[in-house]
Amino acid sequence: MDSTTPAIDVRGLRKSYGEIEAVRGVSFEVAPGEVFGFLGPNGAGKTTTINMLCTLARPTAGSALVAGHDVVAERDDVRRNIGLVFQDPTLDGYMTAEQNLRMHAELYGVASGLIPGRMRQVLEMVGLWERRKTQVMTFSGGMRRRLEIARGFLHSPRVLFLDEPTIGLDPQTRSSIWRYIGALQQTEQITIFMTTHYMDEAEFCDRIAIMDNGEIVTLDTPDALKAQIGADRVTIRTADNEAAVAALADRFALEAKLAEGAVTFYVASGEQFVPRLFGELGVPIDSINVSRPTLDDVFMAHTGSTIRDAEEAGGGVKDRNRMVVQAMSGGRW
């Protein structure tokens, strides 16, 4: 595989479980060395897609090449070239950190002479070298994640898959985990394919694909995605929010939404719009906030809910329909 072969090349990938179509024909390419993010509400098909790329699920249709190898026909070649950090922990708590890594190295057939040096390197990278003789069951959630990431790197994969690598961790731990991932990626120049719910983590990606209902709804760099929105977000609090929403529609032809006691709408060049708003709205304004679009806005524009809402609505239950109904019935909007 030379440097022009995409690290991941997916064409028309589909997966159905009986009646349910979890993934409905997705296509994308990931370049070597790229950090590629997969965003989407729970049940959007992210994990199913990852599972197919990792050879854990067989595609119903379409093809996928990972590190230049077909995920169905060359399953073993794919497996040799990828590292995985799953959403759910897959460490053996009864073994020490070192034993877990040793097991991994042996399963992947890493040359015996190289194992100790490599183990030390990855353990030092994630700051667990001192704890290598400790049983993993005594580790905190953050330490376990770090160990899993070290393990994913252990056999020098070309592509590392991270499925929600920081879910359920506190902000400090999350940021330290990203620091480790960044350092590891820098040392080895590997391609990272990840899914996440956190906007700040999505910013870390070179490109982002947003997935909803089993399809990729948009795919671009974070900056380009934000530019696509083409408008700033304006949030106002007024004496009479209902009237403000009506007035915005009447006088400015703007569609505004009422949420949590504030009126939100999108308008190009938000700062210049503010003086007009004060002059012409006709409803007294208590406060105003103009902000550049964030990835959260991008996410909302494409999936109809904010990332956080999507997460809460999903609540770990992989029930897309329920979530869609909730989003459509507009409980929050």
């Binding site: 440097s3 497996r79 030092e124 990203w178 960044g182």
Partner: protein
């Protein structure tokens, strides 16, 4: 692979930018990781016989590591066999003196107890595959570039080994039930235990490999283990049984392990011919007296077949 990862500048910025961002992302504070003196990137070789053997070995070693750290399991799995041997054996001795021709009942049931202690432990070992599934570790093994059969074989050999190690404790108690410490006898017992442990672990894996929850497995195991144990003749001679029990007994795989074990032990005892005939009649098929080696072959054959089924099931799952 990618010294110069910038390939498609339009939509896919390359790694250099990403990493710059990643480091910048760190909110100061702790000193950042400094790349250590370089350790060569490792290479994962294509699959081969050698890599499969390594995989089997490491799966095996992991089971032993876990067994060593689980002292409680070691102790508790001995309780049942000891209860049968010393409590049931001593208690029923009061009633059965006339029927045992002066042989201590404990001595009589000792070979059977040797077998069932192995059986209990081997079944528990087989359950580990369900634990691994429930706690996620199975996934780590399943995505590795190895055959699934290597996982099953490693687990089966480890289960056999662990169960035999436990069996040694009972072998050590031979003197307490009037069985001599003859090295050949002890070695023979150990060999038979190893074989039985292998077959029972294979059987356990065959049952466990598709089961997703440990509770359901425990239920099924209870349903299988106790009948197998009671029917096997571990606690009684197998001739002159009621017809239905006789049939069940001949179907029970454990029968073919208990019988050679008993013959082996009784050959090293000094008994009257009458006692020997009454207590160690041997298993017959329509009047044909099965040779001990044949029985051993049956156990081994069953073990291999069940291991094959377990592997096949594991391969076709998911």
């Amino acid at each position: 692979m990618s010294q110069a990862p910038a390939v498609r500048t339009d939509a896919a910025p390359a790694g250099s930018k990403a990493t710059a961002k990643a480091v910048g992302h760190a909110p100061g504070g702790e000193p950042d990781y400094e790349p250590t003196p370089h350790v060569a990137r490792v290479v994962v070789p294509p699959r081969s016989w050698r890599s499969e053997l390594r995989a089997i070995r490491i799966v095996f070693r992991r089971e032993l590591i876990r067994f060593r750290s689980d002292r409680l399991r070691m102790a508790t799995s001995l309780i049942q066999p000891l209860l049968f041997l010393f409590v049931l054996g001593s208690g029923l001795q009061q009633l059965s003196q006339a029927g045992t021709h002066g042989v201590d009942l404990k001595t009589f049931i000792y070979p059977g107890i040797l077998c069932i202690s192995v059986m209990f432990t081997a079944m528990t070992s087989a359950a580990s595959i369900v634990w691994d599934r429930e706690f996620g570790f199975l996934r780590e093994m399943m995505v590795a570039p190895i055959r699934r059969s290597s996982i099953v074989i490693g687990k089966c050999l480890a289960g056999a080994c662990v169960a035999s190690i436990q069996g040694v404790v009972l072998i050590c108690l031979a003197g307490a039930v009037h069985v001599p410490y003859d090295p050949l006898l002890l070695l023979g017992i150990f060999g038979l235990q190893l074989l039985l442990a292998f077959t029972i672990t294979a059987f356990g894996l065959m049952v466990a490999v598709r089961i997703k929850q440990i509770q359901s497995l425990m239920g099924i195991m209870q349903m299988i283990v106790m009948p197998m144990f009671f029917v096997s003749g571990a606690l009684f001679p197998v001739n002159g049984l009621p017809g239905w029990l006789s049939v069940l007994n001949r179907i029970d795989p454990l029968t073919y392990a208990v019988d050679p074990m008993r013959r082996l032990v009784f050959e090293h005892l000094t008994l009257s011919t009458a006692a020997r005939r009454a207590l160690d009649p041997g298993v017959t098929w329509w009047g044909w007296h099965l040779p001990a080696l044949f029985e051993v072959g049956v156990v081994l054959g069953l073990g291999l077949v069940m291991l094959g089924i377990a592997i096949w099931e594991f391969n076709s799952g998911e």
